[in-house]
Every structure is written in structure tokens, then in C-alpha cells.
């Protein structure tokens, strides 16, 4: 994920200070890894350096002064460009899951690879059930549902791959060790 562009997007609605940005990020992207404050300020520093964001005054609520930040014209252009650029659809198959199954077949036997696949399938299913419970909870927000939908669709695809690969393990192992 491109954190700088997400921060530009969060600033598009108006000025915000670092604390607001962190909170807005975690709220809008509920299943993403929460943003550390250090990462927010480091990213803001780079965006200011590159002229995409500019300080827009100090604000004191409780505690120390906080610097508010605003999007510059260049920042808005950079955000527009990012939003209009199509992401390359899966140019490389580089998931750890896939790599681990390949390596298991290279260094171990069919049983070991199959044991790993079964354990991974169970972990995926548990997570799928957790996310389904989260999105069907009556208190779930649309943010929660959309984030869960994204994760569920990917887990579902992984699970289908795990199911078919389990059926192919023996053939695959024979081919690898021919």
C-alpha cells in the first residue's frame, strides 16, 4: 500500500495534523495494519520536502502545539495521477504462501507439503469465519464491511487454490523430482 498517497487522500478534504491523520487512516482502513505515529510524521516530512504537502499553522488543543498540514497544488496533482493509474493486475506470483508450498515440495515429501497445506487451509478458514462474523455483526460500519469483503475475497481465492493444489500435490512432487 502507498502510505504517502493515502495521506494525500486523507488531506484532500481539508487540513489535518498528524494525530488526526493516524486516526482517520485507521478508521477508513480498518483491516489494514494500524499506522504508527512515527510513520505518519516521517511520511509527512517527505511529503513536505517534495512540495506535496505544506504546514498550515499551529494548533493547540490540550498538550503541545500541533502542526496542521494541507495539500499543495502539486500534492493534488500527484494524488489525481495516482488515482487515475491502473494497478498492474498481479504481474508476479510472489506470495509467501505460494513460495512456501514450492519450497516444501523441493525439500520435503508429499506428506510434509500436504500437512502444510492442510494447516494453512485451517488457518485461512478460521480467519474467513472471523471476518464473516465481523461484517455480519449488526454494529459493523460500511468501512468494516468493505474492508472485510476485500479480505474475504482474497482468502476465498487462496482457499480455492489450496483445495485444488492439495489434489495436485502428488503429481507436482513427481514432476519436481523427476
Amino acid at each position: 500500500m502507498s502510505t504517502p498517497h493515502v495521506l494525500l487522500g486523507l488531506l484532500a478534504g481539508g487540513t489535518k495534523h498528524g494525530y488526526d491523520l493516524k486516526r482517520a487512516h485507521d478508521e477508513r482502513l480498518p483491516q489494514a495494519r494500524p499506522l504508527a505515529y512515527g510513520q505518519v510524521y516521517a511520511t509527512l516530512g517527505r511529503l513536505v520536502r517534495d512540495g506535496l504537502v505544506a504546514p498550515a499553522g499551529q494548533e493547540r488543543l490540550a498538550g503541545p502545539d500541533r502542526t496542521a498540514y494541507a495539500l499543495t497544488e502539486e500534492g493534488r496533482d500527484a494524488l489525481d495521477l495516482w488515482l487515475s493509474t491502473v494497478e498492474p493486475p498481479m504481474p508476479h506470483v510472489n506470495s509467501t504462501l505460494f513460495a512456501k508450498v514450492v519450497v516444501a515440495l523441493l525439500v520435503a515429501d508429499v506428506t510434509r507439503a500436504r500437512t502444510y497445506l492442510i494447516a494453512q487451509r485451517r488457518a485461512h478458514t478460521d480467519r474467513l469465519r472471523e471476518l464473516t462474523a465481523l461484517k455480519t455483526n449488526p454494529t459493523a460500519t460500511v468501512d468494516d464491511v468493505v474492508a472485510a469483503d476485500y479480505a474475504i475475497a482474497h482468502l476465498d481465492a487462496d482457499l480455492r487454490w489450496l483445495h485444488t493444489t492439495l489434489d495436485r500435490v502428488a503429481d507436482w512432487h513427481r514432476e519436481v523430482h523427476r
Binding site: 485451517r122 478458514t125 474467513l128 455480519t136 476465498d156
Partner: protein
């Protein structure tokens, strides 16, 4: 309390075996997904558990009463009063309106016409299709028909709902809306649900999953490692 129990179920279609010794239990209020590839015996298992089919061997018990030995009439009565059945294509009666379709199981069970209609309207409302009460299936979308069929399956407030690919004919979003509401209402009423599906994302709505493969329970499947060696009872 155990709601459903199967022991050593065997069922063939001519020379082709569909179930080759299924042993499993479903607790009261539990939602269990039965999954597996096409032709693994999922639907045959559901039909045996619901008393629609008789197994060639083995036993099916409902709340401790063996039902596979009951007459067709007795099993049919059980399905009208204690069980609800929902299929992939709702199978609504084309000549009846939505309200008449939903009221039908109650009328067959002896409920008065007025009370049956009131209950039907309540259930149509729970599935967000109250405005279709006087509309016939031919004038509804697939999603609307399936909502009506789900309302019909639950209107008798059955102890067990058997659902065979209930969202299989619907688009993802509509399917999820129907399933979410079905699961929510089933949990509220502590209705036991046996849900047949081949989709992992649909099975994730259940409390537990039983994976079938070639007519037997696949114990290497999901969450079944704790099952005893003798069968799929948990």
C-alpha cells in the same frame, strides 16, 4: 441437546455409491456447513437427514427418535412441522402470490387462513420483501424469489432448517444479504441449520464445517482434526 444424528449412513443410486458410511451429529441451535466437491454426496446427505430419502443402511435420528424407519407420511409430517427445507432455486408455487406461498406450510399444518397470512406478512417483512406480498413469482427477480422462499422455509419456525446451496443462484451481494438475514434469524430462534455449499465464503457463516469427499467425511478437512477416529461426531 443433539438435534440430528446420523450413524453409518450408506446410500447408492443403482451401482453408484453416494454415501459410504457417514456418522455425524448436529447440536440444537448449531449451524453446520456441509462442503465438498461436486458429486461428493452433500445433497444426498441432506436428503437423508431431512427424511426425504431413506438410507440403504445406517440410521438417522432427530432428537433421539430414529426417523429413517418411519413411514413416508410420518416423515412428511415431520418436514411440515419441525423441519424447513430451502433449495437453490426457491421452488415457489408459480400460481400463488408471495404471501400465499409463505403461508402455505402453515395452512398445510392446520393454521387458520387469517393467522397464516399475518405470519406470512411478518416473515416477508423480515426479509425486506413485504411490498411483494401480492406479487406472483414470475414478476419477481431471482433475489426476491429466494427471499420469499427463505421466509417460507422459516415461517413454521422449524427446529431444523435444511438449506441446499440457498444462495447458489444469486449474485454475491444479494446472496450475502439473504444468508446474513437467514443466519441472524436462525440464531435468534436457536434454529439448527444444515447448510450445503461448495463455497468457502458461504461455509464461513456456519459454526462448523463438515467436509465430504467421495461419500465419506474427510477428516483432514477443516476443523475436524478433533473428531474421533470412529466418525465425524463432534
Amino acid at each position: 441437546m443433539t438435534q440430528l444424528q446420523a450413524r453409518g449412513l450408506v446410500r447408492s443410486y443403482g451401482p453408484t455409491p453416494a454415501l459410504r458410511g457417514i456418522t455425524m451429529e448436529v447440536a440444537e441451535g448449531e449451524i453446520v456447513a456441509v462442503t465438498g466437491p461436486s458429486g461428493c454426496g452433500k445433497s444426498t446427505l441432506l436428503h437423508c437427514l431431512a427424511g426425504i430419502l431413506r438410507p440403504d443402511a445406517g440410521e438417522v435420528a432427530w432428537r433421539g427418535h430414529r426417523i429413517d424407519t418411519w413411514s413416508e407420511a410420518a416423515r412428511s409430517r415431520l418436514r411440515r412441522t419441525e423441519f424447513g427445507v430451502l433449495f437453490q432455486f426457491g421452488q415457489l408455487v408459480a400460481e400463488l402470490t408471495a404471501a400465499e406461498n409463505v403461508a402455505l406450510p402453515l395452512l398445510l399444518a392446520g393454521t387458520g387462513r387469517r393467522a397464516a397470512r399475518t405470519a406470512a406478512l411478518t416473515w416477508l417483512d423480515r426479509f425486506g420483501v413485504a411490498e411483494l406480498a401480492d406479487v406472483r413469482p414470475g414478476e419477481m427477480s431471482g433475489g426476491q424469489q429466494q427471499r420469499c422462499a427463505t421466509a417460507r422455509a422459516l415461517v413454521t419456525e422449524p427446529r431444523v432448517l435444511f438449506a441446499d446451496e440457498p444462495t447458489g443462484s444469486l449474485d454475491t451481494l444479494t446472496g450475502e444479504q439473504v444468508l446474513t438475514q437467514l443466519v441472524r434469524l436462525a440464531r435468534e430462534q436457536r434454529t439448527t441449520v444444515v447448510l450445503i455449499t461448495h463455497e468457502p465464503r458461504i461455509a464461513a457463516y456456519a459454526d462448523r464445517e463438515i467436509v465430504l469427499r467421495d461419500g465419506v467425511i474427510d477428516h483432514t478437512g477443516l476443523g475436524l482434526d478433533a473428531a474421533p477416529v470412529t466418525g465425524g461426531v463432534r
